[in-house]
Every structure is written in structure tokens, then in C-alpha cells.
């Protein structure tokens, strides 16, 4: 079989970027939650909030680490695998990423050290400041990368000079038509993803009858957050859909499975098997007129279909079509959980309803799956274009020998599969271990320079006596 370097490079990028997005989706929301808990602890003095913050900071740390290492790969992959794209669009994309590094990456990394390791070295307020800074850093990072990606979806503010893009207006480039919708949609998605990871874990504790108070506090808070954010996300998602209809009609046609060049009174397909050869759907299950209503706010509104463009300009319809349904389906499920949770809370039986807690405890990965599905809609849906309507993806791949890309792809698949298994193993381990008792946390807070520190240190040593390899048993190292 002839290896196609273009397909391999695209597969590799898809694989590495999919792997990467899992981790920021969790850390953006989790950093924000930890900042909220730490703030509440400072405000109320209730040690339960400290317990929440200190427990979740551990899964946060390993998730953040995974995000960092898989993210560095991406910052070089534009050049390694898409050198022509980098040369052509570097003047637009490069500066946006430079701003991401300047305003976000350094900020996160600079304050992460204090957030993770500085509990005993800075005041509680200073620590809170560090946590908030890390959280804000993650939002800023999302802003720039969404700006760059959105420009590739709905490009404007540029001119084409000697085969390269040059920017005419940076405001137009950054605040391109799809950017605001996509930024809020992604930010909300990240908050919801983390919310459901936390919710599932706390539901799991309650179902197991462990760490009851801790479990209740976390479940209660995350259900409130979900009740606000999930309907909000549906609304933002709807606005985003209208924006796609306006600027990327072919993508929308693939999402909804519309074939005719223009169609009025479009049904909403709950299920179908789109067939790209026959240019039609099989086994449709549809609600008449509903798609028109949602997208044009009128029952007989007209929508553009896939056949309005040549077959070579269409994306892979089934992948876009099904990814979209997965995302929306999970979104609906989440709204349902939030509403049901609110109802059970009102009835006063929330913490006893095992039939509710049991399925919720399995919902930890739902947010991540929805995020991935959503990104597949966006990224597969804009194909064959890398810069929508202007540059085709197949034209900008690095002219590398295919074997070399196959080798690196294999290496990434092996490495990432291994690391993902390890990540899940350690997440499970941390969650099974549960939170530290509240009094233990108070003790840990004694500053390095305070007189109580040595005493608390000795106590910690006593607790860890069973781990014989404790570093301080080396007498010379401790003098």
C-alpha cells in the first residue's frame, strides 16, 4: 500500500491535538473551581472548602502536567508537519500564539509552582492570589488559541501578498465572526467538563458511603453549577450554530445531514445514515420542520445543503453528523441530570437517592467526550479547507518521507496510550485515597519558618514511617 504523507500528517495532528485537549478541558474548569473553594475558605473559614481545594489540587496537578507536555508537541507540530501552512499563515497565527505564551503560559507556569508547592511559604492570601492567577491564565490561553483557530474558520482582516497572508487589521483577525461564540462555548464546555468530573467523584463517595460530608459538599456545589451552566451552554451553542449557518453553511449542512442545494421546511434528524456516494440519507428518524425552526426561527425557513458545492469541497459527512449528535446528546443528558438533581434536592432526598447517584458517578468522562465530539464537528466540518474557503489542508503538508511520519505517529500512539493508562491509574488512585482529614490540613498549614514546623514535620514522618525510603532518614542530608 502506498503511504500518503498528507493523510499521515493529518492523522498525527488529529491524534496529538485530541489527546491534548482532554487535559486543558479539565484544568481550565478545575483551576477555576479550586480558586472558588480557596476563596470561600478564606472568606468563611470553613475548613471543608480547604479540604475540597487541597483534595482536587492533586488531580489538577497531574492533569496540568499532562496538558503541558502534550501542548509543547503542538507548538512545534505546525512547523514539523505543516511547514507550508506555517510559512503561508505564520504571520497571522504566530503572533497570536506568541501572545498566548506571553500572557498565559508564563503566567500559569510562574504561579503554578507557588500554587502547588508554596502552601507553607506564602500567606494564605498570597496563595489564593497564585491560584486565581493560574485559573485566569488558563482562560487567557483559551482566548488566544480560539482566536487563532477561529481565524482559520472564518478568516478576515488579512490580505494575500506573494503567496503569504499578511494582516491588515488585527482587531478583525482576533475578533473574527466566529471567535466570540466559540470562545464562550469552549470556556463553558471546560467549566462543565470539570464540574462533571468532580460531581461524578463525589457521587461515587456518597454511593460507597465514604467521606460523606466531603461527598455531599462537592456534589451539592457542582449540581448548582451544572444547573446554571448547562442550560446556558445550550443557549450559547444555539447562537454558535446560527453563526456557523451564516459563515460555514456547508459545515452546517453536514451537521444536519441536508443534501439538497437549498431546502425549506428542513426536518431535524434524530438519526440517519448519511451516504456520501448516493448523496442522501438512509433510515431517517426526523421531526418535521424543526431544524428550520431552530436555525431560521421559522417553520419553513430555507437552509443551504451539501450539494450546493462540488463533492470535493464537502467534509466527511457521517463523521460530522454523528459527532454533532454525540455532543448534543451528552449536553441534553447533562441538563437532565442538573434538573433532576435540583428536583431531588427540593424533595430533600438527593443524598439518599442511590438510583440517581449511581449513574451520575459514571459521568466523569462525559464532558470530555462531548468536547472531543464538538471539536470533531468544528475541525472535520471545515475540511477540505485548513483556512476556510482559501487554503486546502492537502496543499500545505510538509514534503516529508511518509515512513518518517508513520514512525513518529506510531511513537506518539504508543507513548500517549501508555501515558493515558497511567493517567487514569493515578487519577483512580488519588480518588480512592480520598481527601485528607480536616485536622491534618490545619497542621500542614504551619509555615516553614514557624516554630511549630519541625514538630509537625516529625509527626508527618511518624505517619510515613512505613515508607522506609523517606528522604529525611539520610542523616547527612538532614543536617
Amino acid at each position: 500500500m502506498e503511504l500518503d504523507v498528507s493523510i499521515l500528517s493529518r492523522l498525527q495532528f488529529a491524534f496529538t491535538v485530541s489527546f491534548h485537549i482532554i487535559f486543558p478541558s479539565i484544568t481550565i474548569g478545575l483551576a477555576t473551581l479550586i480558586a472558588i473553594w480557596e476563596g470561600l475558605w478564606l472568606k468563611t473559614g470553613n475548613p471543608q472548602y480547604l479540604q475540597l481545594a487541597k483534595f482536587w489540587i492533586k488531580p489538577f496537578a497531574i492533569t496540568f502536567g499532562m496538558g503541558v507536555v502534550s501542548g509543547i508537541v503542538l507548538s512545534y507540530e505546525f512547523g514539523t508537519n505543516f511547514s507550508k501552512f506555517s510559512e503561508m499563515a505564520g504571520a497571522v497565527i504566530g503572533p497570536l500564539m506568541a501572545y498566548e505564551v506571553l500572557t498565559a503560559f508564563f503566567l500559569e507556569a510562574g504561579f503554578l509552582g507557588v500554587m502547588l508547592f508554596g502552601w507553607q511559604r506564602v500567606s494564605a492570601r498570597m496563595h489564593f492570589f497564585a491560584t486565581v492567577t493560574v485559573a485566569v491564565g488558563t482562560w487567557i490561553s483559551a482566548f488566544w488559541i480560539i482566536a487563532a483557530n477561529s481565524w482559520m474558520q472564518t478568516p478576515q482582516g488579512h490580505q494575500f501578498v506573494d503567496g503569504k497572508f499578511e494582516v491588515v487589521s488585527w482587531m478583525e483577525v482576533i475578533f473574527n465572526p466566529s471567535m466570540p461564540y466559540r470562545f464562550f462555548h469552549m470556556l463553558l464546555a471546560a467549566f462543565i467538563t470539570a464540574t462533571f468530573v468532580v460531581m461524578a467523584t463525589h457521587a461515587w463517595y456518597l454511593r460507597k458511603g465514604q467521606h460523606i460530608d466531603f461527598g455531599r459538599k462537592g456534589l451539592s456545589m457542582t449540581l448548582w453549577i451544572a444547573l446554571v451552566l448547562t442550560p446556558l451552554q445550550a443557549w450559547v451553542g444555539d447562537l454558535h450554530g446560527l453563526n456557523v449557518k451564516e459563515h460555514q453553511p456547508v459545515k452546517l449542512a453536514a451537521m444536519e445531514g441536508i443534501w439538497a442545494p437549498t431546502e425549506a421546511n428542513v426536518p431535524l434528524l434524530l438519526f440517519a445514515l448519511p451516504d456520501m456516494k448516493a448523496e442522501k440519507n438512509h433510515y431517517e428518524v426526523a421531526v418535521p420542520g424543526l431544524a428550520s425552526l431552530i436555525l431560521t426561527h421559522s417553520w419553513d425557513g430555507e437552509l443551504q445543503g451539501l450539494k450546493s458545492v462540488p463533492a470535493a469541497d464537502r467534509p466527511n459527512v457521517p463523521m460530522v453528523f454523528f459527532s454533532f449528535r454525540v455532543m448534543v446528546g451528552i449536553g441534553m443528558l447533562m441538563i437532565g441530570v442538573a434538573l433532576l438533581g435540583a428536583y431531588l434536592r427540593w424533595r430533600g432526598t438527593l443524598y439518599q437517592s442511590n438510583w440517581f447517584l449511581w449513574p451520575v458517578s459514571f459521568m466523569a468522562p462525559t464532558g470530555i467526550i462531548a468536547v472531543l465530539a464538538g471539536w470533531y464537528v468544528v475541525e472535520i466540518g471545515r475540511q477540505p479547507w485548513i483556512i476556510y474557503g482559501l487554503v486546502r489542508t492537502s496543499e500545505v503538508v510538509s514534503p516529508l518521507p511518509a515512513e518518517r511520519v508513520l514512525f513518529s505517529l506510531t511513537l506518539f500512539v504508543l507513548t500517549y496510550s501508555l501515558l493515558f493508562a497511567v493517567y487514569l491509574y493515578f487519577m483512580r488512585k488519588l480518588i480512592k485515597k480520598g481527601p485528607a482529614p480536616v485536622d491534618h490540613l490545619q497542621q500542614q498549614r504551619i509555615g516553614v519558618k514557624a516554630s511549630g514546623y519541625a514538630l509537625s514535620f516529625t509527626k508527618t514522618l511518624a505517619t510515613d514511617a512505613e515508607t522506609s525510603n523517606s528522604p529525611a532518614t539520610d542523616p547527612k542530608g538532614a543536617n
Binding site: 497531574i62 512545534y76 504571520a91 509552582g113 488585527w170
Partner: protein
């Protein structure tokens, strides 16, 4: 034209600054991994990891910064360099992945600790080696006819040697960092290894310098043509001086331990700065050899520069945020100033 010239030059200097910061900062924490096999007990390994656990992430960000400055300011060079060095970059990234996650997982593992030890040591060494390999290839220059992405031009005796030399350099930085940040037997060990590494690094630098002027006539002219040698002579002289002082300071730390007397603070701290100085001098030497090329003998910084609209757009960001970044990075180091304590500190 005048303006364009100076703005591009500014970005070239900025790129140099980013690379230098990366090499110095990630140098010492990659160096920990390179030194790893020479320390054997779990307690020592714990200490090595703990001494850099709070800064490695920030240090590695300079690599990303260097990458995006190249991307944003010199897109053509970013495209050419990244695709030409496809395999070394991929291997470097894989190395960085393994050593990066080792920080998180090693401290949380019971049974799998030995695997994380290897991941850290091998990952760090691989990343450092690949960086040296690429550096060597850049100095040597890739084939001049066209950028041949299927060639293995980065694989030559010279580039392989540079890979090892960079590993030795990073290990030296790590030793000096340990001398500054630890006490007791570990500090003693670091000083001893440091002394040996000073000799290895100086020999490598000498060899690399002679090798480059030997194989590259253009570089030979740059250093020895006309009166160049006269005003360039301070570079090697200062390097030898820095190495001499560094060797002496490490020797003092070494002797204090043997005599079981207290080590003087300035002898603990100076080696790191001297080693950094050594790196700075080597870097300036490198610039002298390759300027004005980003991809030597193929692509100058002027040819590769992005249009003005992009270069000007990044300027305010750089002038506002870069000083801030330096300030809070310094603040971060200050908070964790002093010796590394083997306490159960952290999240």
C-alpha cells in the same frame, strides 16, 4: 527599510534571549535527569527531583516561547527548521513528555517508582542530546541546494558530538545548581562531579570550536579573517577564566567537605553564575559564527522575517509582558530560595 532592519534585528536578539534563557533554565533541570544515574539512593533521587519540581514547567515554557517567536517573527525559518529537523524534534518532544510526567507520577507511585526514575533520566538525556544534535547541525549547515526534508543531514559525527557536549553542559549546570541548593554529602558529590564536568565541557568546547573552523571556511574567515581574531579573542579568554574560577570554587566546596568544615556561602552560589557565564560566552561565540543566518548559509533573519504588521503587533506585548514575566519568575525563585528541604512539602 531602516526601520524594518532594526525591528527584525530586535526579534533576532529576542530569539537569542529566549534560547539562552531556555538553555540556562531548562539546562539545569534537564541536567538533573542526566546526572540521575550517578546518584543511587532513593533519597538522593527524591532530592534531585524536589529541587526542580516547582520550576521545570516555567523553564520549559521558554522553549515554547522560542518556538512561537520563531513562528511569529520568522515564519519561513520556523517552517524550514522544524520540518528539516523532523525526527530530532519529535524525539526531543517524546523525551520531554516522559521526563515531564515523571515529576507528577514519581512522587505518587509506590511500585512503579523505578520506571519513573528511568523515564526521567532517559527522557531528560534524550531531550538534551537532540537539542545538541540540532545545534550542531545548524552550525555545520544543512545542504545548500534546497531544504531536503528526506535527508539525514542532521546525523553526522560533528552533530552527534555536539549532542553529547550539550548533555555534559547541562549536567554541569545541574551540578552547580545542586551545590547552591543542597547540603551535606549530596552537595559534596555534586561539587566533585562538577569539577570533572568543567574539564569535559571545556574540552568539548575547544573541540567543537576547532572542528567548526576546520569544516566551515566561512566560519574560519569570520574568526580569523582580517583583524577579527583581535576583537574576538576576549571570548575564549573569558571562557577559560570563568572555567578556572568555577573549577576553583567547586574545589573549595569539595575540600570543605573533606575537612568537614563549613562551606562558605559565596562558594556555594558562585559556581552556578560562573557556569551560566560560560554558557553565555559559548552562545555569543555561536552567534558570531552563524550571524545573520537562522538556517546557516540558506536563510538569513532578514529573508525569513514576517511582514511589519506582524512584527509591530507583537512589540507592545513583548515590552509589557516580558519584564513582567521576568519579575514574577524571579519572585517565584525567591519564594523557594535557600536550601531544598526534604520535608513533605507541597500539594
Amino acid at each position: 527599510m531602516e526601520l524594518e532592519l532594526s525591528v527584525s534585528l530586535f526579534y533576532l536578539l529576542l530569539l537569542g534571549f529566549a534560547i539562552l534563557m531556555y538553555v540556562l533554565l531548562d539546562g539545569f533541570d534537564l541536567g538533573m535527569g542526566i546526572l540521575y544515574p550517578w546518584f543511587n539512593s532513593d533519597a538522593e533521587h527524591d532530592h534531585l527531583m524536589r529541587s526542580v519540581a516547582h520550576v521545570w514547567d516555567g523553564n520549559e515554557t521558554w522553549l515554547v516561547f522560542g518556538g512561537v517567536i520563531l513562528f511569529g517573527a520568522f515564519p519561513a525559518a520556523y517552517a524550514a527548521i522544524a520540518s528539516t529537523f523532523y525526527l530530532p524534534i519529535v524525539l526531543m518532544l517524546i523525551g520531554l513528555i516522559f521526563r515531564g510526567v515523571a515529576f507528577e507520577y514519581r512522587f505518587k507511585s509506590d511500585t512503579s517508582k523505578k520506571y519513573w526514575n528511568s523515564a526521567f533520566a532517559i527522557g531528560s538525556s534524550l531531550a538534551a542530546f537532540c537539542q545538541g544534535l540540532m545545534l550542531g547541525t545548524l552550525v555545520q549547515g544543512v545542504p545548500t541546494d534546497f531544504i531536503d526534508q528526506s535527508s539525514f543531514s542532521w546525523l553526522s559525527p560533528f552533530s552527534l558530538f555536539c549532542g553529547l557536549a550539550v548533555m555534559a553542559g547541562y549536567a554541569l549546570l545541574a551540578c552547580c545548581y545542586l551545590v547552591m541548593k543542597s547540603r551535606g554529602e549530596l552537595q559534596h558529590k555534586a561539587a566533585r562531579y562538577g569539577q570533572r564536568l568543567v574539564l569535559i565541557v571545556m574540552l568539548s568546547m575547544l573541540l567543537v570550536s576547532l572542528w567548526t573552523v576546520w569544516i566551515e571556511p566561512e566560519i574560519r574567515v569570520r574568526w580569523f579573517g582580517g583583524w577579527h581574531a583581535l576583537w574576538l579573542i576576549p571570548l575564549p579568554l573569558l571562557s577559560v577564566l570563568a572555567a578556572r574560577l568555577l573549577f576553583r570554587d567547586l574545589g573549595r566546596v569539595n575540600r570543605s567537605h573533606k575537612a568537614e568544615t563549613a562551606v562558605q556561602e559565596r562558594h556555594e552560589e558562585r559556581p552556578f553564575w560562573l557556569a551560566s557565564g560560560l554558557f553565555l560566552l559559548a552562545f555569543v561565540g555561536l552567534l558570531v559564527s552563524v550571524f545573520p543566518y537562522l538556517l546557516p548559509r540558506q536563510l538569513t533573519y532578514l529573508e525569513a522575517a514576517a511582514p511589519d504588521s506582524s512584527l509591530m503587533f507583537m512589540l507592545p506585548g513583548i515590552f509589557i509582558f516580558l519584564p513582567l514575566i521576568c519579575a514574577y519568575t524571579l519572585w517565584g525563585y525567591k519564594i523557594f530560595a535557600g536550601k531544598i528541604e526534604d520535608y513533605q512539602e507541597g500539594y
